[in-house]
């Protein structure tokens, strides 16, 4: 007749003491240390991790720097990042060895970077993506364990999940994102007063009841379904956390300014629409971070086999990369490259939006690490070695910035390993088969 009393009973105790502001102990666990202290409260500034994905790579000789280390040279396609160069690392020459697994065009590269594994069938992700691993460490106590967004639509456009049939679906509209983060359930951390909502208390207790069904189901399932149930209950726990957060007086967040409601915008893959959606989503995300609603995020600018289009064009970005003739005089495909120019423009918008927000002596960007990458090196040939990768921000001083790192052909999983280690994930070896590595990129570790 054993059952788990702990949380539920504790909470009930709390609730019976009506009107009590819920718990200091929770708050201590809330903050992960290591960062700067907030001037207002003395509490540590949270560190955040996120990803920014774009599809269809670059023109390698026009994008990758030549000079390794600090003050790397900016080729024409990377020139837009100039103002932020000291806060951005570029990674070249990291490979994706597949051990004989097929290179599934536009599908293999992204998951390889995120999971350290080769995709063997087009069936979700081959393993847990490391943003989720980091989220388990730093995202557990924020209202959302992570926020996923796709600026070009399609909720399935995501590279985040625990593997197999689990893919964290993306928000596809800025309006939807606003509603989710700043709609019902949002508490302004800078409000002076705080009263826990009795219905939220009741919901919280109902949910912990749901968790108690775990044992009875677990005892009769096979391994595969057990995994599914595990994921289900992990998700339920996240929802409980969300309610815990709502029942806790939030720490004041100096930089938090609650944004205005977003109008409903069209969602499609036309480039101007995507740029606009991306800007709105970025602005909302920045405030979601500044107001500490989440500490982990995944932004998909477009999809792997990019369906971006321009008004009046009969052909998509993806088709262009394959079908447009290489201009002999220019040495690249001008129409396809137009999209890359816009993508880099969007990336700079993203980075600058994070950098505009001041947190103590640093900026939000400094307290964040954003991993930006594509799924292919040169889309025309589907090459997956030397996929363009950047990181922006220093993760609260844990990562050095402003460097070009040459991987000299070592596996790309080193990037994932190093980032996880920077965030304190206890892992000394990551990836499978030829992508298994224990070689941290020491150059970037502060």
């Amino acid at each position: 007749m054993a059952y788990d009393l702990s949380r539920r009973t504790a909470l009930k105790g709390m609730l019976n003491g009506a009107g009590v502001v819920v718990g200091v102990p929770l708050l201590n666990a809330f903050l992960d240390g290591n960062g700067e202290a907030m001037a207002a409260t003395g509490a540590a500034v949270p560190v955040r991790f996120g990803t920014w994905f774009w599809g269809l790579g670059v023109n390698p000789n026009r994008w990758f720097p030549t000079k390794v280390g600090a003050n790397y040279d900016l080729k024409p396609e990377l020139l837009p990042i100039k103002a932020f160069q000291s806060k951005i690392n570029v990674y070249g020459n990291f490979n994706v060895p597949l051990d004989g697994a097929p290179n599934l065009p536009h599908a293999t590269g992204g998951p390889a970077i995120r999971t350290g594994r080769a995709l063997t069938a087009e069936r979700g992700l081959p393993g847990e993506s490391f943003d989720v691993t980091i989220g388990d460490l730093i995202g557990k106590r924020s209202r959302f364990s992570s926020l996923e967004m796709s600026a070009s639509g399609d909720a399935r456009n995501s590279l985040s999940g625990r593997g197999g049939g689990n893919l964290n679906p993306s928000e596809v509209s800025a309006g939807g994102l606003y509603q989710r983060v700043f709609g019902t359930g949002f508490q302004d951390p800078n409000n002076a007063t705080f009263t826990p909502d009795p219905v939220t208390m009741a919901r919280r207790s109902v949910l912990s009841g749901v968790t108690e069904q775990r044992q009875s189901l677990m005892s009769t399932v096979g391994a595969e379904d057990k995994q599914k149930l595990d994921q289900y209950f992990t998700s339920i726990r996240q929802l409980e956390n969300q309610l815990d957060v709502q029942l806790t007086k939030p720490e004041p967040m100096q930089a938090c300014v609650v944004p205005h409601k977003i109008p409903e915008l069209p969602v499609n893959a036309e480039i101007e629409t995507v740029m606009k959606n991306h800007e709105f989503m970025t602005d909302l995300l920045v405030m979601a971070l500044a107001c500490d609603q989440t500490r982990v995020f995944n932004m998909m600018f477009n999809n792997g086999a990019s369906s971006l289009t321009r008004i009046g064009s009969t052909i998509t970005h993806h088709q262009l990369t394959h079908e447009e003739v290489l201009d002999n005089r220019l040495g690249y495909q001008p129409e396809a490259t137009y999209f890359l120019t816009r993508i880099m423009e969007a990336w700079v918008y993203f980075v600058s939006a994070l950098d505009k927000v001041k947190e103590g002596n640093r900026t939000l960007l400094d307290n964040t690490l954003v991993l930006a990458h594509s799924e292919t090196e040169f889309a025309k040939f589907h090459t997956i070695d030397n996929i363009p990768i950047m990181t922006a921000g220093g993760a609260g001083g844990r990562v050095k910035t402003g460097l070009f790192v040459d991987g000299i052909g070592t596996p790309v999983s080193r990037v994932g390993l190093s980032i996880q280690q920077a965030f304190g994930v206890p892992v000394d070896r990551w990836g499978t088969k030829s992508m298994e590595t224990n070689k941290t990129i020491t150059e970037i570790m502060a």
């Binding site: 007749m1 054993a2 059952y3 009930k12 609730l15 097929p102 290179n103 065009p105 069938a121 087009e122 069936r123 979700g124 959302f144 992570s146 639509g153 909720a155 399935r156 999940g161 049939g165 689990n166 679906p169 939807g176 989710r180 219905v199 009741a202 919901r203 207790s205 109902v206 009841g209 749901v210 069904q213 189901l217 005892s219 009769t220 399932v221 096979g222 599914k228 149930l229 994921q231 998700s235 996240q238 929802l239 969300q242 893959a269 036309e270 369906s307 289009t309 008004i311 009046g312 064009s313 009969t314 052909i315 088709q319 394959h322 079908e323 003739v325 290489l326 025309k380 040939f381 589907h382």
Partner: protein
């Protein structure tokens, strides 16, 4: 609507009677000893052999069936990932629920539960009056929640579960100061329970085959309901399961036969074809407004409906031959589709039948704008995508992905004067040995549909050059959609394909045993390729109810429904 509402009231009445009978509750609080007694382990050990996440349509249909169509389901559903070359029904067997997914399911659950117990609706679902509307009332909560739980979990709640949800309602009522709020939160908890969000398939020892297992009665009821009606089991099915009738082959045959002959089978057929034909592609269908001024969101919404109407009209209303789906001239039109097809539509609203003329080349579903537009790019048609879809979706012949290191320099741009049509451009693939292997399988099939542009509108020329609709499939030459449809209707691959998809759809795993498929296809043929007959075959196929490789583990002799919950309920008092 009238019938539906009437049925619902009748059901609610039946629920009331049933609950009064089975629980014999009075208004008094159950004593600790009663709760202790109420924790029996089921006699036979059951093992969970599959957990399949319910689809958005199944969720919506279930809610409408239990609570009525006026209960609004608002929210975003986490999409189920389709594994390559498989059905979403198979993906559902792998589908986990992410934190975002649960967040959305929870929000939906609260919206639904709030409506069910609002002043307008509670009378239909609450068979009693609470002693005090501002406090909990266990007896009344139990009488309300147990019958609803039976529909949601697709089986009767165990005593411990009943006690548990009753207790949740009581606690929540105490905290919120409202009996109704208590019911609401408890119902919302059921709606996010894995017992609702997953179709949980359980197996029991098969007395006919010692040592083997078979799906139990409740699993059968749910599978029949989900497969044939795309919703949870209704009262009759639950009763049949409770009386153990669905493990009896003759009775199972009779039930399944009634179900495929019910008007509700149409809902099931629609869901099946939407899955088989990859209709999720319509969710994100976007066309360039400059290239295709006739395309807009209303058109996008009408396209799948047109194809589904063609399918249900032919296969159900007219009880037609599946193979005619590739040849029929009959379709359905609605106002917004008139400009795209260049045909007059008389009705200002709704749908009307329309027969294409022989020369229109709009044979079957392949000549319809729905198929033609989802297998095109946003700004132009694609013989390769169309050919590939015909192979993979309709003939179940997977086409390999392009090799990772393919060199596309051979393919020319559309502005090149030397290659004005897609046929000319694709010729480039055919001359490159790395590409030709696969493009030979797809392109000559898809090129026959080139007279239909990227949204499926007719065109005679591309870049001022006349388009040829000559095609070749497996060495046979033909012309246009009509020629293609005729060959597909004669190909054994198409009927075997739909047979194997139907089996995959039912069991949630790709069909592996080709001898079973061949036997099914034979029976399908003997019925004149009737879709009713095919689904009846699948629904009554003994192989589909056996559980392969499953044996009874020693540790499975545990109560499924959680003695620990009852224990908790008991010890609390």
């Amino acid at each position: 609507m009238m019938t539906r509402a009437f049925t619902r009231k009748a059901v609610a009445g039946a629920l009331l009677a049933a609950s009064a009978l089975s629980f014999g509750m009075t208004a008094s609080q159950p004593s600790p000893s009663e709760a202790q007694v109420a924790a029996p382990a089921p006699a036979a050990p059951l093992q969970i052999v599959a957990m399949r996440r319910i689809s958005e349509a199944q969720y919506r249909n279930t809610i409408a069936d239990i609570f009525g169509p006026d209960i609004r389901v608002a929210g975003r559903f986490e999409p189920i990932v389709r594994p390559a070359h498989e059905l979403i029904a198979s993906g559902a067997s792998d589908a986990a629920i992410s934190p975002t997914g649960i967040e959305n399911f929870d929000a939906m659950a609260r919206v639904i539960a709030a409506q069910v117990f609002d002043e307008k609706h509670r009378g239909q679902f609450v068979p009693c009056t609470p002693a005090d509307a501002k406090a909990g009332d266990d007896a009344c909560a139990k009488a309300t929640l147990a019958p609803l739980g039976r529909y949601l979990f697709r089986r009767a709640l165990s005593d411990s579960e009943t006690a548990f949800y009753t207790q949740l309602a009581g606690e929540a009522a105490a905290k919120s100061g409202s009996f109704w709020k208590g019911l609401e939160l408890s119902l919302a908890a059921m709606l996010v329970s894995p017992n609702y969000l997953y179709v949980i398939e359980r197996a029991e020892a098969d007395p006919a085959n010692p040592g083997q297992m078979r799906l139990d009665n409740h699993t059968r009821a749910t599978r029949l309901a989900m497969m044939l009606w795309n919703s949870g089991p209704n009262e009759a099915l639950l009763k049949a399961a409770e009386e153990g009738r669905l493990t009896d082959q003759a009775q199972l045959d009779a039930v399944a036969s009634r179900m495929v002959n019910s008007p509700r089978f149409e809902q099931g057929v629609r869901a099946f074809f939407a899955d088989m034909l990859l209709f999720e592609k319509f969710d994100d269908l976007a066309k360039d407004p400059v290239v295709y001024p006739y395309f807009n969101q209303e058109v996008a919404a009408a396209l799948p409906e047109q194809t589904l109407r063609t399918i249900t009209d032919l296969l159900l209303t007219r009880n037609g031959d599946y193979r005619q789906l590739f040849t029929t001239n009959r379709t359905w039109m609605t106002r917004v589709l008139g400009p795209l097809y260049q045909v007059p539509v008389h009705r200002s609203a709704g749908w009307e039948p329309y027969d294409f003329k022989a020369g229109d080349d709009r044979a079957g579903i392949l000549g319809q704008a729905g198929f033609l537009s989802i297998y095109s790019h946003s700004g132009r048609s694609s013989p390769t995508l169309r050919g590939r879809a015909i192979r993979e979706v309709l003939m179940c012949q997977p086409v390999p992905n392009p090799p990772g290191n393919v060199n596309f320099t051979a393919v020319q741009d559309i502005h090149n004067k030397a290659t004005p049509t897609a046929r000319d451009r694709l010729q480039q693939h055919a001359t490159d040995p790395t590409c030709s292997g696969c493009h030979r399988i797809t392109d000559p099939v898809g090129l026959s549909l080139e007279k239909f542009d990227g949204i499926g509108a007719f065109r005679a020329t591309e870049n001022d050059t006349p388009i040829s609709s000559a095609g070749t499939i497996d060495g046979v030459d033909f012309q246009g959609a009509e020629g293609l449809g005729k060959l597909l209707s004669e190909s054994p691959a198409t009927t075997q394909c739909v047979a194997s998809r139907a089996l995959e759809y039912a069991v949630g795993k790709p069909a592996e045993d080709s001898s079973v498929i061949e036997a099914m296809d034979k029976k399908f043929g003997a019925s004149g390729y009737s879709i009713r007959s095919l689904f009846l075959t699948v629904a009554t196929l003994p192989e589909a109810w056996r559980v392969k490789g499953a044996t009874i583990p020693d540790n499975a002799k545990v109560s499924l429904t959680g003695t620990n919950l009852a224990g908790r309920a008991a010890s609390k008092r």
